[in-house]
């Protein structure tokens, strides 16, 4: 699915966070969004997944204007994995994943065998089958994020939005989660903190700073020491390992 955001503006009070942002993604493409804290990448994603309303600009899912869709319709087109998922009440893993079926249900519909099959499959894809009957709050951070990913998969959407999903996860679980997402071959837009993780998994990256897009391209083309200095203000060296994968070394401020 094509996601296109055009000239998105959003302010909080007098402070303009997004100053006219354009991004787009093509079907099956893994698009990364990088930028320092407060650059507006989360705000942009929140506009796309409808937690925030943009002050100006339009967002299209394929040809549909997002603001004309009901939240139910848009939840059938995009699933969301956000950074923080903590609940005051204790659900089982299965219950949480089953909630991913909600956008496909009318108010009086019952959960049927097909829904349970989808839940089972989603848990399989994220490697969480063994945890189906566990209570969510007893899981580790990495396991919890995989459950939330399974819930997004249960929505069966062609596109997935990841809003810094690997924050607070150790490196094993960061890579594990991104790898699962990558193998799904969905259209993905992900805000990513870690530049090396972004370089490993993204097909294309947007750099965002001060509420504006400051660069766009493949990891190899975009992530140059000059660009990183401009966006983050740190000195770097780019090296390649024996598999040809690029790595960013931080050498100082």
């Amino acid at each position: 699915m094509n996601i296109t955001a055009q000239n998105i503006r959003r302010s909080f009070g007098a402070h303009e966070i997004l100053k006219g942002v354009d991004i787009s993604s093509r079907p099956g493409e893994f698009v990364g969004l990088i930028g320092p804290n407060g650059s507006g990448k989360s705000t942009l994603l929140k506009c796309i997944y409808r937690i925030l309303k943009p002050d100006a600009g339009q967002i299209f899912l394929d040809q549909c204007d997002l603001s004309r869709l009901t939240v139910r319709e848009s939840a059938r087109k995009m699933g969301v994995v956000a950074q923080h998922n903590q609940y005051n009440f204790d659900f089982t893993v299965k219950d949480i994943v089953l909630m991913g079926r909600a956008p496909h249900k009318k108010p009086l519909d019952r959960d049927n065998a097909a829904d349970y099959a989808i839940v089972r499959k989603s848990l399989e894809k994220t490697g969480m089958s063994a945890f189906a009957d566990r209570s969510f709050s007893t899981l580790s951070g990495g396991e919890q994020q995989r459950v939330i990913l399974a819930r997004a998969l249960a929505q069966q959407t062609p596109c997935l939005i990841l809003d810094e999903p690997t924050n607070h996860l150790d490196i094993t679980h960061q890579i594990q989660l991104m790898k699962i997402v990558k193998e799904l071959k969905l259209s993905v837009i992900a805000a990513i903190h870690d530049l090396n993780i972004a370089a490993m998994f993204c097909d294309r990256i947007y750099g965002i700073k001060g509420g504006k897009i400051v660069g766009e391209g493949t990891p190899e083309n975009l992530l140059t020491p000059e660009f990183i200095r401009e966006v983050y203000g740190v000195e770097t060296e780019i090296v390649h390992d024996r598999h040809g994968q690029m790595h960013i070394l931080f050498t100082g401020l």
Binding site: Y49, R50, I51, T70, V71, R72, E73, S74, A75, R76, G79, V80, A82, N85, Q86, Y87, N88, F89, D90, F91, T92, D95, I96, M99, G100, A102, P103, K105, P107, L108, D111, D133, R134, S135, S137, T138, R151, Q155
Partner: protein, 352 residues
């Protein structure tokens, strides 16, 4: 929290057991009371009334008939209705405000109803609003209080447990202060007795006029909330997550608050202040059967009904010479449970 939860077939079995438990409780509890009536006579009266035939003519009227048919049975059914309504409302409230320590009482709704009912008695609104003035005013008070609490705690925006509990307390305090003010100014002994008796909670005023209405409202309310189980689950995940799962909960939240206020208003009007039922029953059910509202709502309804029936029986027989107000009994059991829950949640209690 327990790791083991009942599976779907197990749930059906539990539900059937609880439903028969409720019916059995109703049938058994009508045989308890201060008047010495044999079990056989009790059922003869009921069968006689329900069948409409005159098999046991000596029971179709007279003292025994009156005690069983006009006093005990409506009271037992009222206990079931109020217990059902309060525990379902408690369960829904906890979802609506996303706070495990919420119940209608904590959020000031009952106090609002209390103020309304006091105003009705003391200001003599019966002349304006008709015979059910207390009910109408209790209902209005409940709705106003619930909206005040919602407004203060910042619906949709920043909403924390502390803010909700505090705004609930504030509204409760304001409402009881106003009620006390009215009572003090009025200086009407009859009204004072009526209100203080009513505030301690009692199912004694139940009769065939107010019971069927309340029972129908509670059953309908429970049924409506049961159909909303998916939204109630989503509410616990928070509004943002709910939007990403295709549901905008702002409207349903207001609708649920309204319906809850409606049910609690009726419960308070018919039975006075009975706190803690809405807190203990949902939590007990969650501990055993998990958080999903598909199971939770019917379980709460049935267990709440059974619980209040037996609490009322205890009130009737615990003292030899008089009847203990049910609000007192439940608070005596309920407050320690509440403290236990608070301590438990401070320790984690399955949450982080």
């Amino acid at each position: 929290m327990k790791e083991k939860r009942l599976k779907a077939p197990g749930f059906t079995v539990v539900l059937i057991n609880l439903a028969s438990g409720l019916v059995l409780s109703i049938l058994v509890s009508v045989t308890f009371g201060n008047a010495d009536i044999s079990i056989k006579n009790v059922y003869q009266v009921i069968i006689c009334q329900i069948s409409g035939r005159q098999w046991f003519t000596e029971f179709s009227s007279g003292a025994v008939h009156d005690v069983v048919w006009l006093i005990r049975l409506p009271r037992v059914l009222m206990a079931a209705a109020v217990g059902m309504g309060l525990s379902v409302c408690g369960c829904v409230m906890q979802a609506v405000v996303k706070n495990p320590l919420a119940d209608p009482y904590v959020l000031g709704v009952s106090s609002g109803a209390y103020l309304g009912a006091s105003a009705a008695v003391i200001l003599g609104l019966g002349a304006v609003l008709g015979s059910n003035s207390m009910g109408i005013m209790a209902f209005a008070g409940a709705i106003l209080a619930s909206f005040a609490v919602m407004a203060i705690s910042g619906i949709g925006g920043f909403q924390s447990a502390a803010r909700l509990v505090l705004s609930g307390m504030a509204i409760s305090t304001i409402c009881s202060a106003f009620a006390n003010f009215l009572i003090y100014i009025a200086n009407d002994r009859d009204a004072i007795t009526q209100i203080s008796y009513w505030s301690m909670g009692s199912l004694a005023p139940s009769d065939w006029d107010n019971m069927p209405v309340t029972l129908i409202i509670m059953i309908l309310g429970t049924a409506i909330f049961w159909t909303q189980y998916r939204n109630l689950d989503l509410m616990l995940l928070g509004d943002e997550t709910a939007v990403t799962l295709g549901t905008d909960l702002r409207r349903s939240r207001i609708a649920y608050m309204l319906l809850t206020a409606f049910m609690v208003g009726f419960a308070v009007c018919c039975a006075g202040m009975i706190g803690f039922v809405g807190l203990i029953i949902p939590h007990a059910m969650r501990m055993v059967f998990g958080t999903g509202h598909k199971h939770l709502i019917p379980l709460c309804a049935l267990t709440g009904g059974i619980f209040l029936i037996w609490a009322d029986v205890a009130c009737r027989i615990i003292l030899d010479y008089a009847e203990l107000p049910i609000g007192i009994l439940i608070s005596l059991i309920g407050a320690p449970c509440f403290i236990y829950l608070m301590i438990r949640s401070a320790f984690g209690g399955g949450r982080k």
